[in-house]
Symmetry: C2
Subunit: 138 residues, 2 copies
């Protein structure tokens, strides 16, 4: 686990329990955002089962500490990915098979100032997701 993560956890008064370490390991092993149920399944597969509610509570905590990002693809479940120094980016999901691919780009940054000027809001974040058909499902 990245030591910055350990530091952030310690700074937040968090304990390094066995389930928590396993959850963090699962997240770090996943290059793409995964659901709480995914995490739960992979924990069981790795013979380190933890209750689903423990997964949810840890994901919420990690999000509060800014260690994971949430990705909402409007299919009824949130997905989570470790931040881990990776740049802000977006995703595309296939409508056929559900495959998700990272898009290492954000076309929005330049637009924030324009949106702020138009709306007088102070913009602090945005979500941008693409949907379509992957080569196999086309």
């Amino acid at each position: 686990m990245a030591s910055s993560m350990l530091d952030r956890l310690k700074a937040g008064g968090k304990k390094l329990t066995k389930p928590r370490k396993a959850i963090l390991a699962v997240l770090e092993q996943s290059p793409l955002p995964i659901t709480a149920a995914d995490v739960h399944d992979r924990l069981k597969a790795q013979r380190k089962p933890a209750d689903l509610v423990t997964v949810y509570r840890n994901l919420a905590m990690l999000q509060e500490l800014g260690l994971v990002n949430t990705v909402g693809l409007h299919d009824g479940q949130m997905r989570y990915e470790v931040r881990h120094g990776r740049e802000h980016h977006h995703h595309i999901q296939c409508r056929g098979c559900g495959k998700i691919v990272d898009l290492m780009l954000c076309p929005i940054k330049k637009l924030t100032a324009l949106v702020e000027a138009k709306t007088k809001f102070a913009v602090d974040s945005h979500t941008l997701e693409f949907f379509g058909w992957c080569p196999q499902c086309r």
Copy 2:
């Protein structure tokens, strides 16, 4: 109601029932996307109550016919707005009061070709939502 809507409904073999007309009226009177519960509440306020499940079924049907857009703001409820010839656009929501404002712009169209080239997906849609603080909540 816009006559194109009537045409699309008729073409889809849909009946113009009393609840359905009231639901369409509520949607047409709302300049911003609203939830199924909002529609339900406004129907009651207008003395034309309809069951919440009827609202949900009509919203799903209208979406299938392409007469309404869905807007997902990741707060656990979908929102709906009539398409009604308005251009594709996006929204910004205040984290304080929940206020939603239309952004009559889409900076993404030009990007679709780039995303398709990078991923080999056939992109057919995207979602883009902004979050921040409105002037009153700042």
